[in-house]
Subunit: 429 residues, 2 copies
């Protein structure tokens, strides 16, 4: 989508809290599924501190879009052509910025604080990639000191299938998983609560229109299949992972819970924040032709800053502000989102509207922006010092992890993603 008046920095909303809002000014208009207090889940748009009920204003929206807004998920909306999503964005932008619509639209607003957020879509399949190259290097060094990056890494956008059923929206607590643990010094494994529970900072990609089984997606058309982005926390039990992951990859180390921020920041909203993919280091191979598109290289990355904050139960009790664990850039991805979508479908695998892709953990090159405790604590050997004197090598019960993100570009109003947060609850006995 080209940049249009919906992105104009001078645009304001009659919803006062939207103007200057860190996440949801009128230039954002993210899509989600919310339930008002006592109500059923329905599609909505975040605007400032409020949520616009799209079903309540359906009569004011384009005819092509309104039928897709009647359900309890966004799958039908995601399945529509991009042009319909653009038309929806323009209509909602007008409703929320033009004072003339205030009288009719205002009754359809709900205080976000009084609503429950649900997953934006029924997720058919969830796939997690591994395109944060600094993370791959850092973790690879711990698991395989002699060969951190395997020979395929710079040719193949490495990914694997994850578990769709255990994806939960921000706010749902994570129960510490039990599983097989075999520390290097132990002769045999045992079964018990993870001792090395970690988070992973990722972006989530929501698939829009799908492709038929057997029909790959050309790299130049990948953008048409991307509905938008969220934040994603790929909770990981490192002790289970080290023991189970060979030869078929992570399984129980990951599939006990995945958190996503509930608002889908649309591809349209992100248009002003597209930037050039950072050039590959000298000597790295040029991607194979099916993964290469000049337009994608020119503007396939995103100017998004990512942050991770941690607060412990003791910190919250003492009123201590959350501790920032990291601060990095979404552009620390070796492959673009278009490349991972095209690679995923390159064998004819059919992506479906509402499928979720994780980018893989996004770490910066230096320790100011590591996307996991595994990296920050060097495999647990160098615990983080927290305000108040506590330390953390891995997560403890009561800890809360909060991911946030903000897209910004000169001349545009920055937009945010809302939080992806969850706290750790003790293992079930």
């Amino acid at each position: 989508m080209t940049i249009d008046h919906t992105h104009a920095p001078e645009l304001t909303s009659w919803v006062e809290s939207a103007n200057g809002h860190a996440d949801f000014p009128v230039q954002n208009l993210p899509l989600g599924i919310f339930a008002p207090s006592g109500g059923t889940p329905r599609p909505g748009v975040a605007i400032g501190d409020m949520i616009l009920d799209l079903t309540g204003v359906a009569a004011l929206l384009p005819d092509a879009v309104a039928p897709a807004l009647t359900g309890t998920t966004l799958n039908a909306l995601f399945a529509l052509p991009v042009a319909d999503r653009v038309a929806l964005r323009r209509a909602v932008s007008r409703l929320l910025s033009d004072d003339a619509d205030q009288a009719i639209v205002a009754p359809m607003l709900h205080c976000a604080d009084e609503c429950t957020m649900h997953l934006p879509a029924a997720i058919g399949d969830y796939t997690d990639f591994y395109v944060g190259i600094h993370h791959a290097n850092n973790v690879g060094r711990q698991f395989r000191p002699d060969q951190p990056l395997l020979p395929n890494y710079k040719w193949v956008p490495i990914g694997y299938h994850g578990r769709a059923s255990s994806v939960r929206p921000s706010g749902v607590p994570v129960i510490r998983p039990k599983g097989q643990r075999k520390p290097p010094q132990a002769d045999v494994p045992d079964y018990g609560p993870s001792r090395r529970l970690d988070y992973e900072l990722e972006m989530g990609v929501w698939i829009g229109r799908g492709n038929a089984l057997g029909e790959p997606i050309a790299i130049g058309e990948a953008g048409e299949h991307i509905a938008g982005l969220s934040l994603l926390n790929d909770w990981s039990a490192r002790d289970f992972q080290a023991w189970e992951y060979q030869p078929l990859g992570p399984f129980l180390a990951k599939n006990f819970h995945t958190s996503v921020s509930p608002w889908v920041v649309t591809a349209e909203a992100l248009a002003p924040f597209r930037i050039a993919q950072p050039p590959r280091p000298e000597g790295d191979p040029r991607p194979l032709p099916y993964l290469w598109d000049e337009g994608d290289q020119a503007r396939g990355a995103l100017a998004i800053e990512l942050e991770v904050h941690l607060s412990t139960a003791a910190m919250r009790k003492a009123g201590t502000a959350p501790h920032r664990l990291s601060h990095g850039l979404a552009s620390n991805m070796y492959w673009t989102i278009a490349q991972i979508v095209t690679h995923h479908a390159s064998n004819g695998c059919n992506l479906m509207p509402g499928d979720l892709l994780g980018t893989g953990t996004i770490s910066a090159a230096d320790d100011s922006g590591f996307g996991s405790l595994l990296e920050i604590s060097r495999g647990g050997s160098q615990p983080v010092m927290l305000p108040g004197g506590e330390t953390r090598a891995f997560l403890e019960d009561g800890d809360e992890v909060v991911l946030t993100a903000r897209a910004s570009a000169d001349g545009y109003v920055p937009i945010g993603f809302g939080a992806c947060r969850a706290d750790i609850q003790p293992a079930r006995t």
Copy 2:
């Protein structure tokens, strides 16, 4: 379920083709979703050469079950307690064996040849295991000659997530996938049609009742979560797999297509064919307590014979009978089905009704029963001789692979699974 009169060997059906039927005598009564010619998909039961429309006889079925038979999938039926599925089996058995019901039930029968089979359930998540120990040994030897079985194999029922969206019922052709291929002698990969396309003989396990996120399934209760079994072909592009699978496991090598036989042979139907799990070889570790149940060891394996047949386009043209590639036993599994279900949920991962688990390729200890061409042809180096003079190291376009299975036990009428078949179509240009 205990064995009851529905398994009685003297029981016959007034549907004549059922009596002596290799797959679907009245002792089987597998569940599936079929569409009569020109009709919509609906639940049915295979009986001989016919299919009983369950929606058409719903008024004659137990009240607890009938509401679960109104949709186009079996998910709602699978979600019911085992007792309801048992009640359904008993009611259907009576309808099809008691002549008194013939007049009212016969109009609800359809010729199977004139029906289209659909997937039995909307598959939320598909997980593939790796519990065929001879296969793991054979393949491990090719990928890692120094260490065919990794140290975790005898402790952990190894599994990984697969792709739910590309599972198709028997009969849907497989389009040869394209992907990254890097033969050992090549310096760099290229992208093109797989040159090492293979099948994998597996059993598919359909999950019945699910478990809540965070709540493991005790090994003694795993059986209550298993609706039934099908055959499963985990089509595999070995060239893609060798290049992509490290460090996160198989991805595009597998997710382009998975075939299942469309009839779910229920856990109830299989009750007479339960046998003791073969004892672990001397020196192997005893499973951890969460995976160990004496009852499961005593009757957690199944007396099922498995066969794979191949026919090429030339063979079919010449009228040559399909060539049997292998013949083995389902008991060549190192872990029981209960163990894989319990392991899957042991970290709190929530299984859902209609989820599909693959056992992993089931190979015999010797070359009479290898479950893949990769094993039969020793990685492609020893092609199979076929009738008519053709050879196959891997699958060629036009080849058809047919999986079949038969459960038998002294004193019981054997039951079958119906075929899991598909042919290979050329890669899309």
